[in-house]
Symmetry: C2
């Protein structure tokens, strides 16, 4: 009897599910994490690994020998294991593959062919295929002999040569008379996904059609696996993380609880890039030092002009990048978007030109300064929304990820436009 304390290893393995354990490990600084990890029963470690985020999982695997990895991961689903192996140094993953039972090895090796971010990388090979010319009774008898995963929702119908032909939902099977032929109740609405299809495309198919699982075929249309919604949800969340964290130059695979030195390194590059852009804007401003020395109000008001452009531009940029990710905004409606955004720029530009002009009159008692800042605001907001619309398309054509670099490029543009228009107009008309 340990008095009021629950022994930590009992607490760990009995009171918390593997999902809770994974979440707990992810919410813990790295030193404490290694300590907690050592308390997890070896039989549960593999399961916990499959729920951890990439960086943390690879760090834990990195401390194991190939033998321990094989031991720990023996109950992990083959698609998860393939992902882990793809992220290990080749000498370790090769050694792990050699040590695996040959059945498991050939299954995993089949999956390693496909990059992690394709349908093939997402799929599992636990498909149950049936033929269209058999009866419900035959299928039920066949299923009874198998070990079915709890997540099985569909059977796939194939021809003699394993070409995908259609699907049959389990509830349909349960409510149909025993002598009905599968061909009469199968559905053909679910199309097979090519193994090399991009994972974002897979996510869009699942979202739009509310699928729970989908068949994956190779180049010849032969059924080779199935993708389940849980893996698609992971893709959706990773994409969202990428969009959200990418805007701040962060990587969605990084450990949130990395120590200060590691975190500083992760973030330093982004700060450096932004410093460079800030100095570009500063260099533009410095061309007008003589004007500023004469009218100090220009120094005070310049950041206001730059910031209004930055906000207007980033609203458009965010809308366009998100619209591209969901597939709503494409080249086919780009010209409509440009016109609409130009309309927004003119309307909001005029509105805030009047407001900021009025504030400037009240503050600095100068009508000509107010006119200059109003003109600069209008021009800068229009340029900003145009840049925000075009930039994602230009970056995408250049194979640059707009979610990562869009905002920093846009801010540089709006700062430079802002300083140039405001200080340029001021130099021309006020001095």
């Amino acid at each position: 009897d340990s008095g009021n304390f629950v022994p930590i290893d009992r607490l760990f393995n009995e009171e918390l599910s593997v999902v809770d354990l994974a979440h707990l490990l992810e919410s813990t600084p790295s030193k404490v994490r290694m300590f907690l990890w050592s308390f997890i029963d070896e039989i549960h470690q593999g399961d916990v690994l499959s729920y951890l985020n990439d960086e943390i999982r690879q760090a834990l695997l990195g401390k194991m020998s190939a033998e321990e990895i094989v031991e720990t991961t023996q109950d992990i689903e083959s698609d998860d294991l393939a992902d882990m192996l793809q992220q290990m140094p080749p000498e370790v993953s090769n050694r792990v593959l050699q040590l695996m039972p040959s059945d498991d090895r050939s299954e995993v090796e089949g999956l390693l062919v496909y990059p992690e971010d394709t349908a093939g990388g997402l799929m599992n090979t636990d498909v149950v295929a049936i033929r269209a010319d058999v009866t419900v009774e035959t299928v039920l008898r066949y299923l009874r002999k198998l070990e079915l995963p709890d997540s099985l929702d569909m059977l796939w119908v194939t021809d003699r040569d394993s070409h995908y032909k259609g699907s049959l939902a389990l509830p349909r099977l349960l409510t149909t008379a025993a002598d009905v032929t599968i061909a009469d109740i199968m559905s053909t609405t679910i199309k097979a996904i090519d193994a090399y299809a991009d994972e974002e495309h897979v996510a869009q198919i699942f979202e739009r059609q509310d699928l729970i699982s989908a068949p994956v075929v190779n180049g010849e249309g032969i059924l080779i696996g199935r993708i389940t919604i849980d893996d698609v949800v992971d893709v959706i969340i990773e994409n969202a993380d990428h969009s959200i964290l990418g805007m701040a130059g962060l990587d969605e695979e990084d450990d949130v609880f990395a120590p200060a030195i590691k975190s500083s390194q992760d973030r330093a590059v982004w700060l450096g890039i932004n410093m460079a852009t800030a100095f570009i804007a500063a260099a533009v401003m410095s061309r007008f030092e003589a004007s500023i020395a004469e009218i100090v109000a220009l120094a005070v008001l310049s950041p206001v002009v730059a910031s209004m452009g930055g906000i207007a531009g980033s609203q458009t940029l965010t809308l366009i990048i998100r619209g591209m990710a969901t597939g709503h905004v494409t080249r086919s409606n780009l010209s409509w978007m440009i016109l609409r955004e130009l309309g927004v720029g003119l309307i909001n530009g005029s509105l805030w030109a009047i407001v900021i002009g009025s504030i400037t009159v009240i503050w600095y008692h100068s009508f000509s300064l107010a006119l200059v800042i109003a003109a600069a605001i209008l021009v800068n907001i229009c340029l900003a929304v145009l840049s925000g619309t075009l930039l994602p398309f230009i970056l995408k054509s250049a194979k640059i990820d707009p979610a990562l670099s869009g905002s920093v490029i846009l801010t540089t543009l709006t700062d430079v436009f802002g300083f140039l228009t405001f200080l340029g107009l001021a130099t021309a008309f006020l001095l």
Copy 2:
């Protein structure tokens, strides 16, 4: 024969699925949208509606009479219909309810009790409940009499009084001998979700446990419905949209293809708030006009100091807000986070203080100006990461959504800190 052209109405109803139609409508400016909508077969309109985003759907419903709404929505799932009714003016939704067949009405009215963003608002009432003391054979016979939805993956086990007791996956039912009792094969790992649980909490449960459906119970533990993964995926995507679009002051429910006037209104408030914060920063800067008039370099370098703080702070802010959303960052590890971020601030602050100080020496040939800017960079980056850590917690305690207002408050803080430290130190030491 219409020659080379496919008649538009045939194309619409035969070649495109309802999902494709909904996506097409969402990707179209509002005028064209009404035109396309009129070509969709009335029997498909209801289905298309259920796949559209809120604003567009309500706009289309707003143009129909209560009678037409009842007609169009008769095949829509009850949870989707309840959501639509909750967003209509009360006089319309009451009229629609009155016109509905009484069975459907009482089902929908049961759902209207729960707010849209709770488990009750997400759930459907199409549950299949069985008792634990019957055999597999009895269940199979019972199911054969029902009309099961294709998406059914689990049966729920309840007691005599409908209290939730456990779950039974369909594959398990198919592979178990006919005379086995349900109690022996049911699972108790899936816990019931309270009808008033927040939808984000529901999404976390689904994510962590890789669920396809989950039972919903009322306050007495009585099974009243089930939530399916497709509705949870919508919640996950809406939350991601909210985080991504919210940072730019945009609403995830707005129509991406709204006309310019509507879009301008949607975005004007955010521009106004940001203008106010830009003027706060400008007011701080204007207190130092005398210093700037003497050393114009201060005007050129001030935005650099403010922007480095802004970037460092927003990196921390993004990380913390995202960590709070995923449940990794909580009050319990806040103090660790503060120390870690302070470490990051000191490391990156020192690094960029040295770099920016060196650039300043080269540019302006002034060692004292370089020292002042270096000190300001260090102080501002440290204050920025601290603000970025604490702000989301403070906002959350005040019931303000950090995803919406976090970045604008943070930027105001870092601008003000930046101008104050840099111009303050310069005034104290350089003049």
